[in-house]
Amino acid sequence: MKGRSAPCLFIVAAVLVPLLLDPRGYWIRVLTITLLFAAMAQAWNIVGGLANQISLGHAAFFGIGAYTSTVLLLKFGISPWLGMFAGGALGGLAAFVIAIPTMRLQGHYFALATLAFGEVMRVIANVWTSLTGGPGGLSVPFVPPSFLAYSFKLLRPHAYIALAALIVVTVIFQAIRRGAMGYRLRAIRQNADAAEVIGIDTTRVKLFAAVISGALMAMLGTLYAQVAVFFDPDTVFGIASISIRVALIAIIGGVGTAAGPILGAFFIIPLEEIMNGLLSSRAAGLSQLVFGVILIAVILWQPRGFITALNSLRARLSRKGAP
């Protein structure tokens, strides 16, 4: 199979690169965050890419995961590994609750409703001070390093955990896409009425995608909290910092494909980091301004994402290669 070589190459590279980077350094942090965002965009892709429902509120589930594991650790000393599953369950539940009123909405309406839902969660996290610490944020408490306690001296284990998470989420995405559920989701995307007529329970299928996506997103929130060590409501429930960025990564890479979110994350996150490093000392706002300009340019150049450019390039190459 020709299509297998690229993923294998990627995994081998991703396993080797953390060994080469300075374990206390800056770049291993960038790599870890990039892998995490790739996994988040992949989780978003289950709803955004397969069901074609553009969610702008995935920060809601992400924040639930970050807060659940951290609060469980702070108040009861429960290991974040278990907290991760508790967060995943709550994230899935939240996705279920919000999916009920929004599922029938299409296009812009769905995007707007999920945007508002993310904001609801942000406001609640800011106000519910006794649980979340309010706007002041939460610090993940220090525990002696051990794998079971999900505490490490260096960033290298975090990079591998993020890589494992990306692989798991991508495998789930592929399994859904290739399986019967993927056909149903695609049928709904192309023509919801026709899908209903041929006997697909569109409500149940969309609900399933939403819950899986929300639960995965929440579990990734726990991983993020363990890497970041400190976070506040405006970061983990943020529109710009999470919801829009995650959707953007998937869209820039190529919505609905397994490679898209990974391409997008490895473009966007390092780009942002490099620009912050180069430009933020010169003037506030300059790096984000340049980022916005690049975003506009990419969307005008490839409205369907990098993956189409890549595919057409590959097609051209193979045509030339053929005798």
């Binding site: 553009i54 995007a111 706002g285 984000q288 969307i299």
Partner: protein, 286 residues
């Protein structure tokens, strides 16, 4: 009595919400594009009015037409050069193009003007008229009246002028409008420029009671969407009703809930309206 007072305040604030949101609904109604950058034009309008006040000594209310003109010009270029290219692209590309424009405007103004908060001082800023036991804040009243004038002018423009009718024709059926000799591209530019101009106008008239800084638009994004969704996305008359409703909801919820929860009530109303009546409270189903 405080209930009545809250309703009056809400209606006055809501009138301005109506005008800043008409721009958003106009752009959607004519082109079918949800402009996430719309609130950034509110920021632009506020900055123009602030500089007009600081350097020319103009009252923000007098400077409002200037804000309109600057935003109109920027909108004309943005529509012609950027948005026109994605009119037939997938809706994700449209959404994220306007998000890109949002990022550029917000950070451009941060770069140009810095992050400090700026406000104006006017003679009428703290004055209020007393009507028996009720008070009517003069800056609210002035902003409301200016919005009313602006809304009526738009209504006349859309209804009576050739451009307005051509724009509505384009919204209804672009192909048929083209056959009638209407330049659809020109109408789109006109609608977009007019829409962002109105939002900037609203920004100028609220300057006496809202401080301006590069992120101020972000505080209005969900509010503006709530207004247009309440009224029905694309409906100008709906935006007026939605604006007044949002103003009243905001000021009533301030009576019963702590100030931090004010927006929460709004967001929940927003989600409920979307779930129950996505075509808006006044809109007919289309």
């Amino acid at each position: 009595m405080s209930l009545l007072q809250a309703i009056i305040d809400g209606l006055l604030i809501g009138g301005v919400y109506a005008v800043i949101s008409i721009g958003l609904t106009l752009v959607y109604g004519v082109m079918g594009i949800v402009n996430f950058a719309q609130a950034e034009f509110l920021t632009i309008g506020m900055f123009v009015a602030w500089f007009a006040w600081a350097f020319l000594g103009l009252d923000p209310v007098i400077a409002a037409p200037l804000s309109f003109a600057v935003a109109f010009a920027i909108g004309w270029v943005v529509q012609g050069q950027l948005i026109a290219r994605v009119l037939n692209a997938p809706s994700v590309a449209q959404i994220f193009l306007t998000v890109g424009i949002l990022i550029v405007i917000e950070n451009g103004s941060l770069l140009l003007f810095g992050s400090q908060f700026r406000s104006v001082t006017t003679a009428y800023q703290t004055v209020s008229l007393s009507l028996g036991p009720l008070f009517i804040s003069v800056p609210y009243l002035i902003a409301f009246s200016m919005s009313l004038v602006c809304g009526v002018a738009l209504w006349w423009f859309m209804r009576a002028s050739w451009f307005g009718r051509a724009m509505r024709a384009t919204a209804q059926n672009p192909a048929a409008a083209r056959l009638m000799g209407i330049d659809a591209g020109l109408m789109y530019r006109m609608a977009f420029a007019l829409g962002v101009g109105l939002t900037a106008f609203g920004g100028a008239v609220i300057l006496p009671y809202v401080t301006v800084f590069p992120g101020v638009g972000g505080q209005f994004v969900v509010l503006m969407f709530t207004v247009v969704v309440l009224g029905g996305l694309g409906s100008v008359a709906g935006a007026v009703v939605g604006g007044l409703a949002v103003g009243v909801i905001q000021s009533l919820s301030a009576l019963f809930f702590p100030i931090q929860l004010q927006n929460l009530v709004l967001f929940i109303v927003f989600i409920l309206v979307l779930a129950v009546r996505p075509q808006g409270l006044v809109g007919a189903s289309r």
